[in-house]
Symmetry: C2
Subunit: 407 residues, 2 copies
């Protein structure tokens, strides 16, 4: 790599300021960047959770920015640690995945990962490459370097331990294996959320013990989810998945609370700082946050799909959500008769995941048929009736006992 | 095996009464013995400590008694667990042995073991047979079955943990590996001291989890050492080694406090219960305990060496210790001149292990030359002078500068 000092200094400030929660050790990180050396950027993932959402994108976009400076991403498929389950921030021992589940999930993950990160500048490494031949002697060597107290000092472990909740011995191995990954791939910088700090530091420690230069730990902030309260997470249902269709993605971005708009701009878009400053001033003044949010939604859809998709999603949103019209192209729900059980009807066409979800939504008043709120479960419909759940889910009724039977 | 009920019942009472601290589960143990099945008796040892002393013999003699009923001993060479170090009752993390040290120690151990246990009815198994090919996947399987809290509930761990002393994660693996040994060798009964109870119970648990009949745990009492205070242990220096020469063994038995005589008879000799009862009555009366102790010393030397050795050791003891005469056959110490450095002289002929030990013994007044207590370190000797350290160590001086140089 050739060293262009001015370029590096410009990039450094972009890399180390926006979208950063904590860097350990910032001084060393700066030195590394200024050295002009091609850095190895470690990002591991747990194929137990193959779905990437905007929360993950914060770190992935950072990787992409480093790639643009010529650095090398090393993506570690945690196919072994996934069989244990990362205990970070989790309060119960998790069930183990089969090797087959892990493999299929890893593929799904990578399809999404490479929507953001440059595949050409990424080295993909499977843990099985080294853990497949890891012996008991290796385990003994590794586990002898750390104490039980060190592990139980970790916040989540200590909370579980003192509450008397079980921690499998296996779970103590998880951070050690993740640390050893850093040694194997000779990681210069490890990337992830702030909840990974303990594991990252263990990596530094192990590298030092084994005579390597300790990696830098680059921690990105946790993005707040669409509920405006908790960190974005699939299990909380407040997420926007990077693989979701443009319409859904656009609609979900539009649903975030106004206070989050600037955070999203900062963490998941490339809009320059000067422009964001303008937005801030507008928001402090009389500007309608709705327009800002539309801009944000377009940026995000364009980034993960295309500009054309963004334009179309915006039109869809205006028509369906803002003006309340039925979308042009909606799925069909087959009813067995003209007085179907609405709960089953919703379930059969996939508008809800379960009968109990249908019951809940009906009771919340979130279901309409031809513009009338549904009360009770058995109701008359007619051929072509429009059923709507919330603002975004629609279907059109066809009365067809035979197809209803199969659904 | 044919079942001779009367014989079994006689043996059962001998097996399960004398030399037993605790049996888990006694009812099941009885059933097993009455079933007439050939049982697999597991005894593991840690080749970090190759020296067997009378304390270990309590369990080994029990094995021998079971063998006499036709049962099979399975001796497990803990060549893998030794590399970790058994944390049972130990208060610090121990250094690891090399594979070479382990192998050589194991040989030493077995030479002593088969002085008591019948080699022909013993199956020797090295852990490396199964742990040599144990993979990380196996480790994950095994460690997922137990929790950190279960391990830390163990007395020694919990004491260390709450005192803030380090416990390497590796040490949590030790009891799991020992438990897994029971599964591999299909142990019916595991033998050892009461300090092994936790490990034994873990074996039961793991066997049950993996669909095997859980082993019985046969725990023998801890023998008090020659100091009359602490359990016999090499590190406390209060032990009688089974490999020690007849004279030393005899002398050490004679040195135990009178109160221990009956305990030793019970735990390390085969004298029948009726005879022991007589001894008890004699001791309660006017009998001289010295005579009883001589009987004990003869029994033990005869058992571990031969009857002839026992007779000779007794004569040696009477002559050297009781009458204070020099033994017939004592080693030579070569002096460089007729005023040698006594500390070096003692060290060169092996009467002490180090110069500092020599200094300590001289200062304690435990060293004599020709019947005169040694004061100071540089003293005149003559050809044929007798040097004595304590009651049992003797040598004869030869003045020979050349050989003194080499010594």
């Amino acid at each position: 790599m050739t060293i262009d000092r001015a370029l590096i200094e410009r990039d450094v400030s972009r890399l180390l300021k926006r979208g950063v929660a904590e860097i350990i050790v910032e001084e060393e990180m700066l030195e590394l960047l200024r050295s002009g050396r091609k850095l190895r950027l470690k990002e591991g993932f747990d194929p137990s959770f193959p779905d990437i959402h905007l929360g993950h994108m914060v770190a992935l976009r950072k990787l992409r920015q480093f790639q643009e400076m010529g650095h090398q991403v090393v993506l570690i498929v945690g196919d072994w640690t996934a069989q244990i389950g990362d205990p970070s921030g989790v309060s119960v021992t998790r069930p183990m995945l089969t090797a087959e589940q892990v493999r299929s999930n890893a593929e799904t993950y990578m399809q999404q990962f490479f929507k953001v990160v440059d595949r050409g500048m990424t080295e993909v490494r499977w843990q099985s490459e080294w853990y497949g031949k890891f012996t008991l002697a290796d385990v003994i060597q590794l586990t002898s370097k750390f104490t039980v107290a060190q592990m139980l000092a970790r916040e989540d472990f200590s909370a579980r331990y003192s509450a008397g909740r079980p921690i499998a011995i296996t779970e103590l191995l998880y951070p050690l294996l993740q640390a050893y990954d850093s040694v194997v791939v000779k990681s210069d910088v490890e990337f992830g959320g702030t909840d990974q700090k303990f594991n990252f530091l263990l990596g530094r420690e192990l590298q030092t013990m084994l005579g390597q230069r300790p990696q830098q730990c680059f921690m990105t902030p946790l993005l707040v989810g669409t509920d405006g309260k908790h960190k974005m997470s699939k299990s909380l249902g407040n997420y926007i998945g990077v693989a979701e269709p443009p319409d859904v993605m656009y609609g979900k971005v539009m649903s975030i609370p106004d206070e989050l708009v600037m955070q999203y701009f900062e963490l998941v878009t490339d809009l320059p700082e000067e422009e964001l400053e303008e937005f801030r001033q507008q928001l402090a003044g009389e500007a309608n946050p709705m327009n800002m949010k539309k801009r944000l939604a377009r940026e995000i859809v364009a980034q993960l799909h295309s500009k054309a998709d963004a334009v179309e999603a915006e039109a869809h949103f205006a028509r369906v959500v803002q003006r309340g019209e039925a979308p042009a192209d909606i799925p069909v729900a087959y009813a067995p008769s003209d007085t179907p059980d609405i709960r089953r009807l919703l379930k059969s066409c996939g508008m809800v995941g379960s009968i109990s979800e249908a019951v809940r939504l009906i009771n919340q008043g979130a279901v309409e048929i031809d513009g009338q709120k549904v009360i009770g479960y058995q109701l008359p419909v007619k051929e072509g009736s429009i059923v709507r759940v919330g603002k975004l889910r629609w279907c059109r009724v066809k009365i067809d006992p035979e197809k209803a039977e199969k659904a």
